[in-house]
């Protein structure tokens, strides 16, 4: 039973004023601008956009500032903001093959058409703290080399597809509706498109841990990173009043395609796939998502199930940081009446227990 509490308005108001003061910190230190967050904490912005499920770098940067850098709180703010906006419609699916790749690596083929480009990556850094950053020294300008005339790089997976060594992707069925968890609650078993939507907005830490669990043996899928690419793609949308696809602007995305253990099922065995896609440069998220996408397909391939990563209901019901934090953090709100009821019940049970054992083992806890 929920019982409202009243009062505390002045204390709440003052707590929020204190929060604003503490958020600002030492006035002798320059105020952090939203533009600075957007430029210099770009990976955090990407994460908040991805999990907030709303692509708008400025909004995400503002949310990060307001949330004092708390990712889950920032996601909450972005999700709350999106509820105030109307939906114009559904965009045309991205053509990630047409991506202007700023990074593209494959762990399965050394010589892929278009080559391997590292782009701006933490890979192969020594993870030594760089004190020149603390000193605010400007970095050297990036190196340049002659670019190939066509920057779009062909996808890696079709190379395997040509020989039917990998399962084909599920084709688009004309007229089929695409499930949308922001419109209808998730029902189980959830189809793959719905699982991908949930995983895309799922908490990176959770999706990472579930993906990791498959590598450690709780539902193995034997993954290889077939291709990881990051870059920008034009978003297109068909407004009803225009009747043709309108380019809305370029969005930055990270895509990961995993190649996994073969499945046969009566046919010639083929590699299977896991897929990840996220806003901005979100490589760890895209990789983890691809691992979990594949592990959630265990039943589809007739594989042994039972690991957490193979349980769609378990993963999808717990991957959303906002839902999780809502239920966990609500515990700190006043539960005085609830607790009084529990306390009363406990006293009653103890009294009955004391009556029953009177004269025998008084005072001894059982």
């Amino acid at each position: 039973m929920y019982v409202a509490v009243k009062g505390g308005e002045a204390a709440i108001e003052n707590a929020h004023r204190l929060l604003a003061h503490v958020r600002r910190g030492d006035l002798g230190v320059i105020d952090l601008s939203v533009a600075q967050i957007g430029e210099q904490l770009a990976l955090l912005v990407a994460r908040v956009m991805t999990e907030g499920s709303c692509y708008d770098p400025e909004l995400a940067a503002l949310a990060i500032k307001q949330a004092r850098g708390d990712v889950v709180e920032a996601v909450f703010l972005v999700r709350a903001c999106r509820t105030t906006l109307q939906r114009f419609g559904y965009a045309e699916p991205f053509d990630t093959g047409a991506m202007r790749a700023k990074r593209r690596v494959s762990a399965i083929f050394k010589d892929v058409p278009g080559g391997q480009v590292l782009g701006p990556t933490f890979d192969y850094t020594h993870r030594l703290l760089d004190f020149t950053l603390a000193a605010g020294l400007p970095p050297p300008p990036p190196a340049e080399a002659a670019a190939r005339p066509d920057e779009t790089v062909p996808r890696v997976m079709p190379l395997l597809g040509e020989e039917a060594l990998i399962e084909p992707n599920p084709p688009e069925r004309p007229g089929a509706t695409v499930p949308d968890l922001t419109r209808e609650p998730v029902a189980f078993p959830a189809e793959r498109a719905l699982r991908l939507q949930a995983l895309a907005r799922g908490d990176e830490g959770f999706v990472l841990a579930i993906g990791y669990s498959t590598q450690r043996g709780f539902g193995r899928t034997h993954p290889f990173a077939g291709e990881i690419r990051y870059g920008d793609v034009m978003l297109e949308f068909m407004p009803e009043e225009l009747g043709f696809l309108v380019p809305l602007g370029r969005m930055s995305l990270t895509e990961c395609e995993m190649v996994n253990q073969f499945a046969g099922g009566g046919r010639a065995p083929q590699f299977t796939r896991g897929y990840g896609l996220a806003f901005g440069q979100s490589e760890r998220k895209a990789m983890a998502m691809a691992l979990v996408d594949r592990s959630l397909r265990a039943a589809e391939f007739g594989e042994e199930t039972g690991a957490p990563a193979q349980d769609g209901e378990f993963v999808l019901s717990h991957c959303d940081s906002l839902q999780a934090t809502g239920f966990v953090e609500h515990l700190k709100l006043p539960h005085y009446v609830d607790f009084q009821a529990e306390l009363g019940l406990l006293r009653k049970l103890r009294a009955e227990s004391a009556d029953a054992s009177e004269g025998k083992d008084v005072g001894e806890m059982s």
């Binding site: 991805t50 692509y55 708008d56 559904y90 480009v117 080399a145 997976m157 992707n169 809305l248």
Partner: protein, 151 residues
Amino acid sequence: MPDRDSTQEHRRRVMAVCAEATRPELEAALRCVNYPGTVTDLRRPETGLVMTRGRIGGDGAPFNLGEATVTRATVRLADDATGFAYLLGRDLERARAAATLDALWQLADWREAVERALVPVGERLEAERALSARQTAATRVDFFTLVRGED
């Protein structure tokens, strides 16, 4: 007279430039075009959301990825042309400027002026794209596989 598809493709290309232009760039383009007629809002600029989609495995069935903020505007010119804009982000004035340029582009007398005014934007975008491509190209690697000779 060009056929409808090529005209539409042409219009989409101009829209794509506007979609990547900053508000100051679009406003500068409008000043450059210097259209004397009145521009009225058929639909005042408003911000909303478009649900973006990916494809399973990159080329398969679509799935909903997440939303993006989009601002749209519709304007009508004194010359009876209607212009539309749908742009990523939340800048209302930027959408109105893009819709105005779209309307002007549809008028034969103004098309060339609009395209001329957008040339600097196209040049900036191309320069940025080329620079980014050169910087990315410098990170191209050739991995060698080494035979360890244990056998």
